[in-house]
Subunit: 181 residues, 2 copies
Amino acid sequence: MCQAVWSTTVSTSEPPRVPPAGSAFLLTQLGTHAASAFAERIARLDLTPPQTGLLRVVASEPGRSQQALAQQLGTPPTRLVALVDGLEERGLLERRRNPGDRRLHAVHLGPAGEKLMGEIRDVAREHDDAVLAPLDDDERARLRELLGKLADAHGLTPGVHPGYRHLGAPDAKGAPGDQAS
Amino acid sequence: MCQAVWSTTVSTSEPPRVPPAGSAFLLTQLGTHAASAFAERIARLDLTPPQTGLLRVVASEPGRSQQALAQQLGTPPTRLVALVDGLEERGLLERRRNPGDRRLHAVHLGPAGEKLMGEIRDVAREHDDAVLAPLDDDERARLRELLGKLADAHGLTPGVHPGYRHLGAPDAKGAPGDQAS
DNA sequence: TATTGTTATACTCTATAACTATA
DNA sequence: TATAGTTATAGAGTATAACAATA
């Protein structure tokens, strides 16, 4: 994917510029930046963000069914299958049949997965530091407080982030993507 | 598209939960939320976020070539063509041949486009208010300051937001998407 | 008949490459 | 030959729908 762009412009130089960006736009812009920065970092472990999210969820509560995982993650079960497939091949996840109900596949972390979790945490910490680098400790604390308040008020699930696409963007000739404001 | 999810979880209830989300993750989460909320709002005008971004850029500096626009927006020129096509059909944009160099297409706002800009600004204001609703004036000011500092330090172009996809996500069986942290 | 997981298929969006016209 | 724009093609990523196994 190579989305990009689509925007607005804060007054800068000579030519007339679009009205100054509001905080909501800054939020989108920074969120996008943070997301892609994380994707780059986590690629070192040969993981994509969705894979990482799945690993973390499984690590936090091993042995759940794929249905349960799909529901928590808000993704169609069908997508989870492919995701688990890829991680299972690498020994990061394991599917275990449930003797009680043989339809179920309890998903657990594989040995390699356990080891990887530590590295994932390192990368996450590193990422957080990099993003917040421009702020001092006091500013970081205030930012966290404000963001937390917003996330809370908007009902964002603590660990799960809302979908992106298909929400807006009816269709319209051109093409959707993800600017926002 | 119906991305979703992929994440981490802040300690909440009984089962062991993943480490608390850092501010960087909150940023991604809120950015995603803001983006989709904007997409929903702007859909009222029958526009997608990319279309909106293009309109704003054209409005801010009419008459530029498609190449110039593509470069500013960071999108391949080929994509701009389709985008302009759709908006031109609706009378929102106009292509005017440059008599000096007949290869160029100067892109201007059409009559309908001029009118729409006002509504776009209304929607943007409305969106900003909705996102920031949970905060009081003082908090909004502080948030804006902090976000501005971050955006600036990370070299985010004032009005244009960085791409999303293809940056991270090498390939990996499953599928990429956009969590982040 | 309902449910878990799976496979197969179609669709959306975007990028890459090839082509036309001007220069 | 180089550049603006366009068209055509292909690929990545995701969702929807049909299917098999188990209950």
